[in-house]
């Protein structure tokens, strides 16, 4: 009897195509590209604050169909999907047990949404939206 275990190769570049679960994971992780892009956008915006002229040019650069479509896409994909995905996972990282009972995951998820709403309202208030 000779042992000759067979090793099935796993592709380093296309492994995430193996099943639907990995694809969803990749969609979640790819939001990092948008985060990166937004960071640049904010840096450009901040730099443009140096003069009224540059600031207006920066604003103008955002006011075309392509940029508006991009912002819309980013809002849905990044903000809504990403937030939803991570809030769903939050109870796993920080479970709460009160006495002998584990607090239901949904309370922790809801608490996250409430904090999110309050912080967003605060930022809108800072920005003078209301």
């Amino acid at each position: 009897m000779s042992r000759q275990p067979y090793i099935r190769p796993m592709s380093k570049t296309t492994w995430y195509m193996r099943n639907g679960r990995y694809k969803v994971y990749m969609l979640r992780e790819m939001t990092c590209l948008l985060v990166g892009f937004y960071s640049f956008l904010v840096i450009f915006g901040l730099a443009a604050l140096s003069s009224a002229e540059r600031w207006n040019a920066f604003l103008a650069s955002q006011q075309n169909a392509a940029m508006i479509a991009f912002h819309g896409f980013a809002l849905i994909y990044f903000l809504i999907y990403q937030t939803f995905a991570w809030f769903e996972l939050a109870p796993k990282a920080m479970p709460l047990q009160i006495g002998e009972k584990k607090l239901s995951d949904s309370y922790i998820v809801i608490a996250h949404y409430i904090v999110w709403a309050v912080l967003s309202a605060f930022i809108f208030w800072l920005a003078g939206v209301f």
Partner: protein, 246 residues
């Protein structure tokens, strides 16, 4: 009871003859209440005695019957014919070398389980007057879920990080370490985290969550790992701030 004809497509590999694995099909007349393991047993007993695979308890206890069922890591004694289509593909657990047919080599994860130091570690001496360590029910419930693991290794078959890099300690072993870290009688957390929050440990996990989705015992190793990341980070700063080694 009426029978249902199922076509099993089974991966075969004979290390003495085959260059690579291949598929063999078997027509199996299944009873409606059969698990997929029953269908495989039927093949072994009535069609092809050369088929090799592992099983023992047929009741989700021994953890030896894990296989890929239509691409999903599954306990075959817990996966029922009634939930499957007429054609079912059976493969050995992914991410493991194939020993023969559906039997995989588990040596690598057996070592991983040891790195978790899965036993109670005490710094203080035990109670002197022959008393046992007492533990409240609330304290037990903190980690009970992580004691349910039966080492079926379905989680390793689901984990892409383990598939890409076999030095990653992986879901079940990390969940096992977490079980002891959470145990109120244990004092070995810092010692375990030194190893498990280092190379190949918790930070290799990118929280795909696949391990928890396939776990037949609802152990939720992904949760254990995320909690250990937080603990690991706390321990790191504790050691930094107290001037100890980092």
């Amino acid at each position: 009871m009426s029978k249902r004809q199922i076509e099993l497509e089974v991966m075969r590999y004979d290390p003495e003859k085959d260059e690579a694995p291949w598929f063999q099909n078997y027509e199996v007349p299944c009873e409606e209440d059969w698990a997929i393991l029953d269908a495989i047993n039927y093949v072994k007993e009535n069609i092809d005695t050369t088929l090799s695979y592992r099983w023992s308890c047929h009741m989700m206890v021994c953890g030896s019957c894990g296989m890929m069922v239509n691409g999903e890591p599954s306990l075959t004694c817990k996966t029922f014919i009634r939930d499957l289509p007429d054609k079912v593909r059976i493969e050995p657990l992914e991410n493991f070398p194939i020993e023969r047919d559906l039997v995989v080599v588990l040596d690598n994860v057996m070592e991983k389980l040891q790195t978790a130091q899965p036993y109670i570690i005490r710094k203080d001496p035990p109670p002197s007057d022959d008393k046992e360590y007492t533990q409240s029910r609330a304290a037990l419930y903190k980690f009970k879920q992580y004691t349910m693991c039966i080492n079926c290794m379905c989680c390793y078959a689901a984990c892409p990080q383990y598939g890409l890099d076999q030095s990653f300690i992986g879901p079940a072993a990390l969940a096992l370490a977490h079980r002891y870290n959470l145990d109120s009688r244990d004092q070995g957390k810092a010692q375990r985290l030194d190893i498990l929050a280092d190379h190949d440990g918790v930070w290799d996990c990118s929280f795909v969550g696949a391990c928890s989705e396939v776990c037949p015992k609802s152990v939720d190793p992904a949760a254990a790992i995320q909690q250990m990341k937080i603990e690991g980070a706390k321990e790191f700063w504790k050691q930094k701030l107290s001037g100890g080694k980092s």
